[in-house]
């Protein structure tokens, strides 16, 4: 009886929490279907016959901010940054974990330390240097993302690689693999669950990032967050309806990615390789 009460209380608590978390998104979603003048007058009501604006916010917004171009830049930067991060940091983490030397230990701590340096501390020098090196373009910014993404990614990969028995690599070595082959045929496939975790974390961050592209590539190559920003303020009135609609469009790809990848994040992929 007592157990059941506890369960119920837990359930109610969790339900409240999730409502609090989801409410802002729900409000944005609701308002993206309202005519823009009703958004400020009745922000919390559901759209009715009078306030419902159909897809006009979406269609208008897409045109206004050059959505597809921004989408293209965002995709390009995110996809290539994330691929580069997963590939490069998993290799680095493998080396750092398996090679026992002062250098590898030093590298590890350098990467971990980079996680706690606030972005705001380095952002102006960094954008200045990016400018000097002529990497202030969509390709160059990938390099910068690899740098900023590597701390957490290497930390996560290293933790996982430590749990892979070295025996497996030694077996591959005896089976005739070169180190490169060991990595791609044996280690990288085993890393799949953590690779997906790393990919999702980095995708969400890079896709939504505003500050870094704003500082480095600015208005020449507008990514989605920057393009949306131009709906705010700027010339004349702000178009709240289009803004809401674009926000919804912006989060859809991340949600899809998460849903697709979720089933790959399975625990216990390692089980069975070595003794129980």
């Amino acid at each position: 009886m007592n157990e059941k009460k506890k369960d119920l209380a837990f359930f109610v608590g969790m339900a409240l929490l999730s409502i609090i978390c989801l409410a802002p998104i729900a409000i944005v979603l609701i308002n993206s279907f309202k005519g823009q003048f009703f958004i400020s007058s009745s922000p919390f009501s559901l759209p009715d016959a009078k306030t419902f604006a159909g897809l006009s916010n979406y269609l208008g917004g897409v045109g206004k901010i050059g959505f597809w171009k921004a989408f293209g830049y965002s995709c390009f930067i995110t996809v290539f940054s994330v691929c580069a991060i997963v590939l490069l940091t998993s290799m680095t983490a493998w080396m750092i974990t398996r090679v026992k030397s002062k250098l590898s230990k030093g590298l590890y701590y350098a990467f971990v330390f980079s996680m706690i340096v606030p972005f705001q501390m380095v952002m102006f020098t960094m954008s200045k240097i990016a400018n000097m090196l002529n990497i202030d373009n969509p390709i160059g910014i990938i390099l910068i993302y690899v740098g900023f993404g590597s701390g957490l990614s290497i930390f996560l990969f290293s933790g996982f690689i430590k749990s892979i028995p070295v025996d497996i690599e030694e077996a591959a070595m005896i089976d005739g693999c070169s180190p490169i082959r060991i990595f791609f045929s044996v280690i990288f496939p085993i890393l799949k669950p953590i690779s997906i975790t790393v990919a999702i974390l980095n995708t969400m961050w890079i896709w939504n990032d505003y500050l870094l592209p704003n500082l480095v590539i600015g208005s020449n190559y507008r990514t989605i967050p920057i393009a949306i920003q131009y709906l705010q303020g700027g010339y004349g009135s702000r178009d709240m309806g289009a803004l809401m609609a674009m926000l919804i469009l912006a989060i859809i790809p991340v949600i899809i990615l998460y849903l697709v990848c979720q089933k790959y994040i399975i625990k216990g992929v390692m089980s069975g390789a070595v003794k129980g």
């Binding site: 497996i168 089976d175 799949k192 992929v269 069975g272």
Partner: protein, 365 residues
């Protein structure tokens, strides 16, 4: 042709941990060699040096006619079965076995033939499409063996391959590995700390203690003529009984004497060596099966009064834990023995099968 020769091999791990010093060994081609010793004695280290997974600090290692100190593992023509099996978790059983052949770029049909053939021998055919995590311990074990077999190596290295299996499976896998050795006709080096495994499978056993070879010989020789007290105590189960004493000459006979017991050594095998060792501290060793029950005290220096601490019945035999005037002694007698806790009985030592060791050096006399 794959003999293995260690010539003055020394292995020092980082931080100056000296594990193996001046190792000299010669394994013949096609031999089944077992490296036997307690945990941490350096068995795995020796095996891993043969595999090339561990560098050799100094000395020479030959496989076949070639020095292999600087040869990569993949070029040594060896296969290894790990204690942990070390299967590739993301590959099916089939791919686990085919992997090394795929790397060699062997034609697909040939790989298929080899893998299917090995799978048949090891009774793995129904599991070829499964991943390792969907197999039982014994099946995983066989996949690990199969992965080594398909390569047809000239040296087979096995590091405690049976230690994760239950007792029954272990017995049957023991048989299977022995058979495998007969079929494959290659050199096997097998690491274990289980003396039963060693005794049942080996052509020759290397007994190791703290990186030093204690004895290297056929199982029966190890059993009948242990070189020192360590080998005597390690080989055989239940273990040999040891009684400390002094070698005393009295009435023209030699005796092993301590404050509780006086054992007549007239019939002992090494009797001819005893005159030189008078008054030395010695250790008298006798195996449990060489102690039998006796009807009465014959007062002959071979029969002693004992009280039964525990009688363990295994079905076929009875293991007796006895106290013979303050010495604890194990004996192994037929199942018809009618003894129980607290009984006072007489036991007779078969002195002709007993061993003597020098107490100072531990060496056999």
């Amino acid at each position: 042709m794959a003999q293995i020769i260690f010539e003055n091999v020394t292995k020092i791990y980082p931080n100056n941990v000296k594990v193996i010093e001046n190792l000299n060994l010669h394994f013949e081609d096609k031999e089944f060699i077992v490296l036997l010793g307690p945990s941490g004695c350096g068995k795995s280290t020796i095996l891993r040096m043969i595999a090339g997974l561990e560098s050799i600090t100094s000395g020479k290692l030959f496989i076949g006619q070639k020095i292999v100190n600087d040869v990569a593992p993949k070029d040594r023509d060896i296969a290894m079965v790990f204690q942990s099996y070390a299967l590739y978790p993301h590959m099916s059983v089939y791919k686990n076995m085919a992997f090394s052949l795929m790397i060699k770029k062997m034609p697909k049909e040939e790989i298929d033939k080899k893998v299917k053939n090995v799978a048949k021998i090891l009774e793995l055919t129904p599991f070829l499409d499964r991943k390792p995590n969907a197999l039982s311990g014994g099946q995983r074990q066989r996949v690990a063996l199969g992965r080594a077999m398909v390569r047809n190596p000239s040296v087979f290295l096995l590091d405690e391959p049976l230690s994760n299996l239950d007792a029954k499976l272990r017995t049957s896998m023991r048989k299977q590995i022995s058979l495998l050795h007969k079929q494959l006709q290659t050199t096997f080096v097998y690491v274990t700390h289980d003396q039963t495994e060693a005794m049942t499978m080996a052509d020759r056993i290397v007994v190791i203690k703290q990186g030093q070879i204690q004895q290297f010989d056929k199982p029966q020789v190890l059993y009948d003529k242990p070189a020192n007290i360590f080998v005597a105590g390690f080989v055989g189960s239940p273990a040999m009984n040891f009684i400390e004493g002094e070698l005393v000459c009295k009435d023209g006979k030699f005796w092993c004497v301590n404050e509780n017991l006086t054992i007549d050594l007239t019939k002992i095998k090494c009797a001819d060596k005893l005159p030189n060792l008078k008054d030395k501290k010695i250790i008298f060793g006798i195996r449990p099966e060489d102690i039998s029950l006796s009807a009465a005290d014959q007062k002959d220096g071979e029969t002693f009064k004992a009280s039964v601490l525990i009688a363990e019945r295994t079905g076929a035999e009875v293991y007796l834990h006895l106290v013979v005037s303050n010495c604890e002694i194990n004996s192994r007698v037929g199942s018809n023995a009618d003894v129980k806790f607290g009984d006072k009985i007489y036991v007779k030592f078969d002195i002709s099968k007993a061993h003597l060791f020098d107490s100072a050096t531990g060496k056999a006399i």
